[in-house]
């Protein structure tokens, strides 16, 4: 038996013994996601047990180095853990922007001190991070951001406003893009800086969205004092860090949506619409839509697997995550259009108990942001045209 097969066998056995049955069911609502942080609470005992076991095993982030609380696994082993978790339907024990966004950037650009300070608190779920990128006048044109950081001794003094800051009202720390050199060209005067959201002068205001939820905030900085040592990478070279992080963010967003878990869409549709004598969904055009969706979904899953394998083999294009982000988000929107159609009038209930407070229509509306956040679909296609296809003037 090869080492990898042995590893798979051990991983399977460990997960089988340690993952509580409740944590193998598809997530039903937002509270089933554990985000960690100073004010974190567990929605169930099983959620706590599962998180703590995985944390102690180092598997909240299996592929990070053990010195930061990761599992120290190589790419092949981490893939096996993902596969074995998927095989039993195990939920993520910890979800955080620290894992999916900041961590990779810190591992590449952070100083030893910064890594030692922040990474262990991410893997242990102690600090919840948010991302300060977009501003009211810097959306797709992110590099035109205006939040200023002015030098004052050993500190920067930060003034300005961010918008669409996911869960800023729940976050402990922020990784933020600020302008440190207003005279430089727009991409050249930006720095990437970290600070505590409890710092004096930070305030947040949730934005009510069409879903009725407020996952995003406006975030205001009024003379916020941050030590210069909190800059990640070089001062005025924050755009490099920002772009690198965006690649990871886009990879994460492309994976949004509960791909391949739970009941097949066609069966969910049959529950409400019914099936004919041969067991075929009693709405032939919808059945075709679902089938073609599932063809594309399975293909995207293969592409995601291949993207990881290509990266491991050193054959991937750095802009490919934009391609995956584009496709994954458009596909997730399709999924929810189908779910709404499948649910029919039942899927229109907004406040009833039967509909769990309109869970489906709210989730449907939430997906509309997928192709906007982290770079719009149009920006993604522009990046592919320019950086991969090398089309002129793009």
């Amino acid at each position: 038996m090869s080492d990898l097969e042995k590893f798979r066998r051990e991983a399977r056995a460990w997960l089988g013994q340690n993952c509580p049955p409740e944590m193998r069911k598809p997530m039903a609502s937002d509270s089933d996601t554990f985000w960690g942080g100073r004010n974190a609470t567990f929605s169930s005992e099983a959620q706590r047990v599962w998180f703590e076991r995985m944390r102690d095993k180092g598997w909240t982030v299996p592929h990070w180095p053990t010195e930061y609380g990761g599992g120290g696994l190589d790419g092949e082993e981490a893939k096996i853990v993902r596969q074995e978790m998927a095989a039993i339907g195990a939920r993520q024990p910890l979800t955080s922007f620290g894992i999916s966004m900041l961590g990779p950037a810190l591992l590449k650009y952070g100083t030893d001190e910064q890594k030692k300070e922040h990474l262990p608190k991410i893997t242990a779920g102690l600090i919840r991070w948010c991302q300060g990128y977009s501003e009211p006048n810097a959306g797709s044109d992110l590099a035109s951001l205006q939040t200023r950081a002015e030098s004052d001794g050993d500190d920067y003094v930060i003034n300005g406003q961010k918008i669409w800051t996911s869960y800023a009202n729940h976050a402990d720390w922020i990784f933020c893009l600020v302008r440190t050199d207003p005279a430089a060209k727009k991409h050249d005067g930006i720095s990437f800086i970290l600070f505590d959201m409890t710092s004096k002068g930070v305030s947040t205001k949730p934005i009510l969205l069409i879903s009725g939820y407020s996952p995003f905030c406006e975030t205001f900085f009024d003379n916020v004092r941050v030590p210069k040592a909190h800059v990640v990478g070089q001062v005025n070279r924050g755009w490099d860090v920002a772009k690198y992080l965006l690649q990871h963010e886009r990879a994460m967003i492309s994976g949004m949506g509960e791909r391949g878990v739970g009941r097949p869409l066609g069966q969910i549709a049959a529950d409400s619409i019914g099936a004919d004598e041969q067991g075929r969904l009693d709405d032939a055009p919808l059945r075709s839509q679902i089938a073609s969706f599932e063809v594309d979904e399975a293909a995207l899953a293969a592409a995601a697997e291949r993207a990881v394998d290509l990266a491991k083999a050193g054959q991937s294009h750095p802009a490919f995550s934009s391609a995956m982000k584009y496709y994954g988000t458009e596909l997730n929107k399709r999924r929810y259009e189908i779910l709404m159609s499948a649910g029919g009038i039942d899927a229109l209930e907004w406040e009833s108990e039967r509909s769990r407070g309109g869970a489906r229509p709210r989730a449907w509306l939430r997906t509309k942001a997928n192709s906007i956040e982290g770079g719009t679909s149009e920006v993604m296609l522009g990046i592919v045209a320019k950086r991969i296809l090398d089309l002129p003037g793009a």
Binding site: S292, V295, A299, R306, L381, A385, L389, D390, L391, A394
Partner: protein
């Protein structure tokens, strides 16, 4: 298994690409078409294929082949797709080789497989009867007669049927159209009495045949696999063929796309390259993404066919459905973005459009395979 080619597979791709792009660029197909070549492919090039070990790629080593798998066959098919080379590779080396090595008894394998390997025997698989691929609807009747069977009925879209030295024919020996049980595969000599083959030049300048069976007698030794239980064998062979055609469509799509992107950079209107227009950039980017995702789905299907063929049905359906859709999009965008030039016979793009249409229909189009997936998932 990683979804990337191994070093050996990359070497195979390079050698196939070298040979095919050198000896059979699209102009090769064009000249066969223009000269109304009766064979429709180059026998000389087929001998070279045999010398390089491609014709016996799927044949086990004990019968003179290379004993390689579907991923490798897909690699060759992809290169064929890039230049649209007409070749017996699909009918003989993929379909017949798979049918014989999976379904044949020792005598059958010993009789035919070495000749498949050395390129001396051409074969064809006769499945379709109606306008669409519906293998379960097979009606061609096999009735017991003496020690063997008599075959009566029609076959259509038999790829390379006009040059075949051996036909592998799906027939109904029991049950009714639509039943899984009651299908039998037969090895039939095309020169048999009562058998009439009509060569048909298809839209893509490749050849398929219509074949009429009028009381064609075959003996009991000509049954491939088990009487009445041929469906599993047939389905397994068809899945390999589907994976192979999906690979061809990946090569075809990528070639059309590459040519189109080059054109977008060269063609100038309004004083600039048309590739500067965002309307075209976004469509080109979308097509690129579709092709990349399809490539992954096809490789996944081929790897599954090699690792666990019994469970490959879903992955194959996904791959063939995706590849058909992607190729259709690629050739349509290819013609549209080439403008009027794309409509001319002088430009090659039209050849790709025609071949893509044929590949869609081969062994089930995108709708057929999406439906297969839906059935497999129980809705």
């Amino acid at each position: 298994m990683a979804l990337v080619l191994t070093e050996e597979q990359s070497m195979l791709r390079d050698s196939a690409r070298g040979l095919i792009s050198d000896k059979a660029p699209v102009s090769h197909l064009r000249s066969l078409r223009d000269s109304k070549d009766a064979t429709g492919f180059s026998r000389e090039l087929w001998r070279t294929f045999a010398e390089m070990g491609f014709s016996g790629l799927l044949v086990p080593e004990e019968f003179g082949g290379s004993g390689l798998g579907c991923v490798e066959a897909g690699i060759v098919m992809e290169e064929i797709g890039r230049t649209l080379m007409p070749s017996p590779f699909l009918a003989t080396s993929v379909l017949a080789a798979s049918a014989l090595s999976r379904g044949g008894n020792e005598a059958q394998k010993a009789q035919y497989l070495p000749k498949v390997s050395d390129g001396s025997l051409l074969a064809a698989l006769a499945i379709d009867e109606g306008a669409k691929h519906r293998p379960l609807q097979t009606k061609l009747q096999a009735t017991r007669a003496g020690n063997g069977f008599k075959l009566n009925g029609d076959k259509a879209f038999v790829v390379d049927g006009h040059t075949a030295d051996l036909l592998i024919v799906a027939a109904r020996s029991a049950g009714a159209a639509g039943d899984k049980n009651g299908l039998t595969l037969f090895l039939v000599d095309p020169k048999s009495k009562g058998l009439a083959i009509e060569r048909i030049a298809m839209v893509d300048s490749h050849n398929a045949a219509r074949i009429v069976f009028d009381h064609v007698e075959v003996n009991a030794d000509s049954v491939l696999g088990e009487v009445d239980e041929g469906y599993a064998l047939l389905d397994g062979v068809l899945n390999i063929g589907r994976g192979a055609v999906a690979s061809e469509m990946v090569g075809l799509s990528e070639e059309v796309f590459g040519r189109t992107v080059t054109y977008l950079k060269e063609r100038k209107q309004f004083g600039k390259a048309i590739g500067e227009f965002q309307a075209l950039q976004h469509r080109a980017a979308q097509l690129y993404i579709e092709i990349e995702i399809t490539r992954a789905a096809v490789l996944k299907a081929l790897q599954t066919l090699d690792a666990d063929p019994g469970k490959a049905g879903t992955a194959v359906a996904v791959a063939k459905a995706r590849a058909g859709n992607t190729a259709t999009q690629a050739v349509q965008e290819g013609v549209q973005m080439h403008g009027g030039m794309g409509m001319t016979d002088q430009f090659d793009i039209g050849f790709f459009m025609k071949r893509a249409r044929v590949c869609q229909e081969l062994f089930g189009d995108s709708n057929f395979h999406a439906d297969q997936l839906a059935r497999a998932k129980g809705y």
